[in-house]
């Protein structure tokens, strides 16, 4: 055909961006085939290796449950306590790196080229930032963590702050204010700048190398400045497979644990029996809703669900704020912000600390956890962030979500702590967090102390479930894109496969045991990913320098 010649070669976008010249063509390693009625377009070998290794690990956890539990149960705490300094320092590097980018001239680089316009408006974009990984955590830890730090009798008080309770559970009035202040600071530390900086680094790298440099939307692309053409070979395969692996197991184990939590909540409020059958039904239900959402696509599915969830979560936040006394809680927020600003340096310094229970058991654990989720959350954020400048991107992914998280913790944690102080003998939060540790009930216990507990607890359960749906949904999109070699137009059956696969893995682990051990394994992948993330910072810097030189 005559038009073949005119289509040859790739015209450079005029001055808009600095496209990396590479011989690699997106999809060149893909297998396009038809199995029965199902069309497939998968990356060879990432799709197969990651699929098979997931099956192998599930089989191992089911066949040798004790051994798996012993091994991963040993590995995870060993890594987080041996490398606590490494996790803490790296997280600090990510925060500083992002803050420097905001003020540096590189902040003016626009993701997608100079002329690009944002794909999504602010409300939809913000909603989706929380949809992938953070929303579900806010529901689970919003009450638990501040209440725990406030009253912990297990010797892991942040920075060794004084305890507000005696051995017999009597309140020590003199210690209350300091314990309360530190509880909010320590919680905010885990949910504000540091986790969002981790996500921002991965997301920025992927957005930059994909939208500006024209490389496929896949984790390996971020390594182009370091590995060069080798990213298309086995180096890249390993990076992508590791990302798929961490994402899938992270999602499947969270789905399993989440089903147990939702079941515990239903049991606490409605007396629904707490057993495997109910939990399997919950997983099936969550996966089914996620499937519908996946089939409706990014705009029709996950975006709409995230927006609905943000509105409902905001209403719940406002309700708790006013029901628990807006004046007290808002002053709590101000105190929390101030305490966070004051304590962030001592909390993030890994050396010479005596509160190893807190630093290794909570902080290093959290950092490993956020980092093991970062390929997934980062890639999803990248997918929806085209058209923003680097400065705008980091401000909106780092600063604003941090403030939202601190507010959330101040409202939910603050009202829980107020309840513990006002009624130290009868407080349901104290009974379920401090006296006997049932973390999954903490949110419902706090809502119990406020009016309309029946309604708000139901809303709480719905929020938990919908946040799981959006996680499962966005996770399937991410895994599908990586295993299709960066293609975002792979056939529908593929994403259905991944979404269903997640549900099946969760059910298998729930019935056969092994959720805990594989979750520990996922968190252990945080260590290699930390090294990967540090390299990515360097890659981003190099990429931005070239972008400014060449446009």
């Amino acid at each position: 055909m005559s038009d073949e010649n005119t289509n040859q070669g790739i015209p450079a976008p005029e001055g808009a961006a600095h496209v990396i010249e590479t011989e690699y063509e997106i999809g060149q390693d893909n297998i396009e085939t038809q199995i029965g009625p199902f069309g497939l377009d998968i990356h060879n070998p990432v799709f197969l290796i990651s699929g098979l290794s997931v099956v192998a690990f599930v089989a191992y956890a089911l066949a040798a449950p004790t051994q798996a539990a012993d091994f991963f149960g040993w590995l995870r705490p060993t890594l987080t306590s041996t490398f606590d300094w490494f996790f803490l320092l790296s997280a600090n590097v990510f925060v500083l790196f992002c803050l420097v980018l905001i003020v540096s001239p590189y902040g003016s680089v626009r993701l997608g080229g100079k002329e690009a316009t944002p794909d999504y408006g602010y409300p939809g974009w913000f909603a989706m930032l929380f949809a992938a990984g953070m929303g579900i955590g806010l529901m689970f830890f919003g009450v638990l963590e501040p209440a725990y730090y406030f009253g912990t009798p297990w010797g892991d008080e942040p920075l060794g702050v004084v305890r507000p309770f005696t051995e017999d559970g009597e309140l020590i009035a003199a210690n209350v204010d300091e314990a309360r202040r530190m509880a909010l600071a320590a919680t905010s530390y885990h949910w504000a700048l540091h986790p969002w900086a981790i996500y921002a680094v991965v997301a920025l790298a992927l957005a930059l190398f994909s939208y500006n440099k024209g490389l496929p939307l896949s984790i390996r692309s971020a390594f182009y400045p370091i590995l060069g053409e080798r990213v298309w070979g086995w180096w890249g395969h390993i990076i992508d497979t590791l990302a798929v692996f961490a994402t899938l197991f992270g999602l499947a184990t969270s789905l399993g644990v989440g089903a147990q939590q939702a079941n515990a909540g239903l049991n606490y409020i409605y007396g629904v029996p707490s057993n495997t059958t109910v939990q399997v039904l919950l997983i099936v239900g969550i996966t089914a809703i996620a499937l519908v959402s996946v089939l409706r696509g990014l705009d029709g599915g996950v975006k709409i669900l995230s927006e609905i969830n943000m509105i409902v979560a905001a209403l719940l936040l406002i309700f708790v704020l006013f029901a628990a006394g807006a004046g007290t809680i808002l002053s709590e927020f101000v105190v929390g912000l101030g305490a966070y600003a004051q304590e962030i340096v001592p909390l993030s310094n890994p050396f010479g600390r005596e509160d190893t229970g807190y630093m290794q058991g909570w902080t290093a654990f959290y950092w490993a956890w956020w980092i093991s989720w970062s390929p997934f959350v980062g890639m999803f954020i990248a997918r929806v962030s085209r058209g923003r400048t680097v400065r705008e991107f980091i401000t909106c992914v780092l600063i604003i979500p941090s403030i939202v998280c601190i507010l959330w913790m101040a409202v939910f944690g603050g009202s829980a702590i107020s309840d513990m102080i006002a009624n130290p003998d009868t407080s349901a939060v104290k009974a379920n967090v401090i006296d006997s540790y049932s973390p999954e009930l903490s949110l419902f216990a706090m809502l119990e102390s406020l009016p309309l507990a029946g309604i708000t607890s139901t809303i709480g359960i719905v929020l938990v479930i919908v946040f799981f749906v959006t996680s499962s949904d966005s996770g399937s999109l991410v895994i599908d894109t990586i295993t299709a070699g960066g293609k975002v137009d792979a056939p529908v059956p593929q994403r259905v496969f991944w979404c269903t696969f997640e549900g099946l893995v969760a059910i298998a682990l729930l019935i056969g045991g092994g959720l805990g051990s594989l979750q520990a394994m996922v968190i252990s992948t945080g260590l290699p990913f930390t090294i990967i993330l540090l390299l990515i910072c360097w890659a981003i810097f190099k990429g931005l320098v070239q972008e400014r030189q060449n446009t």
Partner: protein, 134 residues
């Protein structure tokens, strides 16, 4: 008249393209070639601007080959796997087209579960849709 094209598979579209060109030539109406692309890099193009240039080159080639008047329209889908139909629907309403000429795929059992692009467009678009068998 709108002619949706998939630049990655244009060899499979020849019958629909010939049909569209024939109609355009016969009635002396311009053909608007519509391409759906994502904002992320794909096999076809690194970014939407580049996709637009390729689509333009394609349309000019068609115009030259059949002696018709050709225009282009780039529709952007954030999630092309599932949102091609919606992007095409937007293209139909924004251009105010009277007719869509597009290729079909070989119907199979999956069509009962997931409607094809042509099928969905024929069902929901406000204009006539001519689906050409390959």
């Amino acid at each position: 008249m709108l002619v949706p094209v998939d630049l990655a598979h244009k060899e499979r579209l020849s019958r629909a393209l010939d049909c569209a060109a024939d109609l355009a030539g016969h009635y002396g109406i311009p053909a608007t070639y519509v391409g759906v692309t994502s904002t992320t890099p794909s096999k076809m193009a690194h970014n939407p601007e580049e996709f637009g240039q390729k689509l333009k080159a394609f349309a000019e080639a068609e115009a030259g080959r059949h002696g018709i008047e050709a225009q282009t329209y780039v529709a952007i889908a954030h999630d092309p796997t599932t949102e091609v139909d919606d992007a095409l629907m937007r293209a139909v309403s924004e251009t105010g087209a009277d007719l869509v000429v597009m290729a079909s795929h070989v119907p199979d059992v999956m069509d009962y579960i997931w409607p094809s692009n042509g099928g969905k467009l024929a069902e929901h678009a406000r204009c006539s849709v001519l689906v050409v068998r390959p």
